[in-house]
Subunit: 345 residues, 4 copies
């Protein structure tokens, strides 16, 4: 199946190329980059020399639509929707890694991102977390690939919400992220000399745009409104999100029972690995892979339940998750091109 | 004033030598190390070549007692108490960086560390946080230097507890620490290839020995029992602890009002820097220094108060804090040798 | 084809498992580890949970020989030869990642490593650099997988020696390596807190065991004795070797002409990427991959030719190189399981 | 003595503030920054909160000249000379950390940097390496602070050149540097995600502007023209330069004898530490300090002499070196404010 990667020179785009280069069913036929149009992929990004033999082209949805059946769109928020709309009009199925189609409520979108450029498409989009929406993904033409933080928080959280085991009020999500989530943004705080040996929180007090996304999906899982306090922290690493959830159980629950909730929820899932009781998720153990490692711990004395998850933000949290959904959409085995072992050490 | 550093070859001991080398009032006359006895400090630790011109000697408290008035004891937990007791018997004033004299209740000590080797001294020890116990420190002969995590959590927490503004039940302390807190332990997980690009929690579910210390001091500040859920996370950095506290205010409180609580508490403190509203503490901003940067944020929607602190675990969290207490004990200006600017970048 | 990985719990062994898990032609049927015998691979090394479904077993060459046709032996130097000999006696073809069969001269081996445990096999071994010995590899039963430093130095160097373009006297090889080359050795200098933000040379003055290997292969390429000064430097990174060669051309040679020498030598090679003139090899561009990126620069003013190479020491420099040779030995396409794109960022 | 720091918001400027904050003889009265004019130093750079209580002002040499006797000028190359000239005209003594007054030959300056903005001052400048020019520094009014790479290469090299022990032709200088030498430049290659786990050479083939400076000072030391091949490599660290020199001795020389050359040259120097025979300089051992650690190794077999040096590029390689020269100029003890122990770990 012929596919395009729109916005292929950002980190998410390059990671899509890395993953798709080993996919037997998708053939990448077009890669776009405004900045790099006309340049060979391997000249601009030497890691892909000898792997991807294409030139970047400018983003022209109409022209690309004629050449591919499916497109991965890795453009920035707000910029993405117009391209997605053009591709959809031309009949191309789309996986969009931006935030443009994640929020179901156009007013919420407006509050966090501004006026929505293609509100008519929102209803047609499916939230691209196969562990939650596998059936809907199989038949959709538009996938909203989830944000990296929501992926890392929802996978460990949803089973407890669905089971009604925890308070839905003021759930605490404390995330630690590598810097690649910020892309290649030329911002002083992302310089090596500034971030090295450093760590700090940002957008503290629920100012991060992933909050409405988190609350939307958590509420759908719980069947009632869920409120979340989310604090992301930047780490001096490139890849990975470690999320620590603090939940208040409605009834005291042991670590073993909490683990069992996770095990039951994910027994059939290939990419969510429930660790043995007592083992903690580590970023290194998922590096470069599509896995999400999860585990639960209980502090019965204070009645706090601590649930943990680790993902690679560029794989399970973006490009790998997108390919996983694409596999579901297109009828490939869901794990195709996604079972590469994590890179350790 | 002639001083000794007992256990001088560990990270805390070396950091004491680094700080004391610029102290005009303390002269280091004895440095001990079982492993390095007989070796010149500068030969064993080349960074100190030309700075510290002493040989390590074996730890013989009786012999050392005759040569110094004050000792910094940086031995491991449990091993420390015997040396401290010997030094005290010989009339030497002691600052102990181990956990041996931090817990006031000998039964709590037993539960976490085993039988106490010198229980008779517990009552005489003062908890070495000058911001809380300045007056008592001025006249004590034995200081229990606080743990690094408690230092990072108590400074931002205590003002809210003293003011009775927050729930004392199930306070959440989510800490992120550099690896130097583990010392030079030869454990696989501390190898560069294992920790680099990695991050993970440990001792989840209140298994960390700093929990009883935290709860003891928090309870004393609150005047009632405080319970805490503490989750430390290991970062791929060498120095620094960033602590994120999640507090539930008894009455909704704005970020500005919460900041004011901190500002009022620390207006006269030289080493606690309350940041301007909206600015977050960063590990880099305190690196190598005795500062503790604090700030408060409010999530009124979920009624969570997020209070943050950053310290250098080896300075304010150990050796610098010890020297600060020693300055108070010995009548030096409290900031002597401790106003070195953080190393940025 | 059924294969074993002997010594599978070290970094080279685990990397073999990572690579072989995507190989359609090799089925790993036995993995050994003395330390971990009886433990499931995924329990001991969580990154491989869900990827490798085997238990470690103790190393018993006789028992293993009955179950496999081919073995990758990743034991330490000197320990390896006995296992290799036993496997060979039982008819198993072997790729040995230790140094035991790299040196053709048993006296040289003795000088650097001690008495050779299986000297009779030395003659039968082929040096596992397919770019140099492809034909011999196709029919051998024993491969000596090259050292990581020699791989990084020989690929850029040999074309110039073969063409007789540079002095063979006192060639300077300045290498910078990640720490994974040292394995999981519990040595203080490899602790995160010691290596982080650090860099230093070691075994300066030709004390490194890779010197005789380098000189042996360089001399074979040149047809005359080549002498080399080799200085390795340890970097605060996990993977990768960057080698900077300083050569003295017999006749002045431009950068363009020097590049052409490399291009001609490697036109048909899949894994040696000669960069465009002026582009430098970077460790990040080969991370996790089997590529060796090379480039040449000329300083005509001082008549020094600078030739550069970057590899991932665990892939092209060890496990990937081993699989590449195994592919040649066993008649698989040489790039099978080895074209995974480098992990960037 | 009242001093100004011109260009105080770059890394070199901030490091000057860090060092001068502990200097008993210099009082910083003016700090300039075009970008930050009007902002308090501690608001812009939180590490200096509570340490430097000044506001940044715009750079107005005439206005500043009336308020200070001495100025440290940390402006970029070419931009610096005009300010230096204005300050000098007003009678202010200047230490300039740019390259503008390092090269004695105005034509060489033109070839590497463009037309010189104040050629008349070149003759009055002294090269600010007290180990080489102490006497001249004592009476000059203008100091050209050396480049970081030249500092790291000249200190280990000059003793061998002065003694006429090594070939002056094609000396190889292979340097490894932290990224802070590039300042806070917003260049993609300096982003954390790009440099982390990466290493690469740049300006290969003597394209780096420090080459003419290196050759000028090496030639002056040797008394004949010296030619140098210089290859800098970028490391994933913030501070430090490790330089590996490859010299060809005129007569074979043992490591011990080579060390003795260094020991003799630096016996009276406080900041050049000649390590014991066999010990290698490490970046960590000089971190944050004004020390330069040096050592020599010999490869008698290939007749290569390997001489090594480690410095902190922001201290001995820039701001610390500047303060050291200022101490000499102003009659303070040379080590004033510069004996702070390296920060280890």
């Amino acid at each position: 199946m012929r596919v395009a990667v729109i916005g292929a020179s950002g980190y998410v785009g390059l990671e899509l190329l890395r993953i798709l280069s080993r996919h037997p069913g998708f053939e990448v036929c077009a890669v776009t980059s405004e900045q790099r149009a006309g340049v060979a992929v391997g000249d601009a990004y030497p890691s892909l020399r000898g792997i991807v033999n294409l030139d970047f082209e400018a983003n022209d949805p109409a022209a690309i639509a004629g050449r591919v059946e499916l497109a991965f769109c890795a453009l920035p928020h707000a910029a993405s929707a117009a391209t997605v709309a053009a591709l959809r009009r031309a009949g191309v199925r789309v996986l969009d890694t931006s935030a443009d189609f994640r929020l179901r409520d156009v007013e919420t979108y407006r509050a966090w991102y501004g006026a929505h450029p293609a509100p008519e498409l929102i209803e047609t989009a499916v939230y691209g977390l196969p562990e939650l929406y596998r059936e809907q993904l199989a038949s959709t033409d538009l996938v909203a690939v989830p944000g990296c933080f929501p992926t890392s928080a929802l996978l460990p959280l949803v089973p407890f919400l669905r089971a009604g085991l925890v308070s839905t009020d003021g759930i605490i999500v404390d995330s630690k992220t590598g810097v690649s989530g910020a892309g290649r943004a030329l911002d002083e705080q992302f310089l090596f000399a500034e971030l090295d040996e450093n760590c700090f929180p940002y957008k503290v007090g629920n100012q991060h745009r992933h909050v409405p996304e988190l609350e939307q999906e958590a509420s759908l899982a719980a069947g009632v409104d869920v409120s979340i306090t989310f604090t992301p922290h930047l780490l001096p690493i490139t890849r990975g999100i470690l999320t620590t959830l603090y939940l208040r159980p409605n009834q005291p629950i042991s670590a073993e029972d909490a683990q069992r909730v996770l095990e039951k929820a994910y027994a059939q899932e290939r990419f969510v690995r429930v660790l043995p009781v007592g083992q903690v998720p580590k970023l290194a153990s998922v590096r470069g892979s599509n896995f999400c490692d999860v585990a639960a711990f209980s502090d019965l004395r204070t009645n706090n339940l601590i649930v943990l998850a680790a993902i690679d933000n560029l794989v399970k949290g973006a490009s790998g998750g997108a390919v996983q959904s694409a596999n579901v959409m297109c009828g490939f085995a869901e794990e195709t091109a996604l079972l590469e072992a994590p890179m350790v050490p």
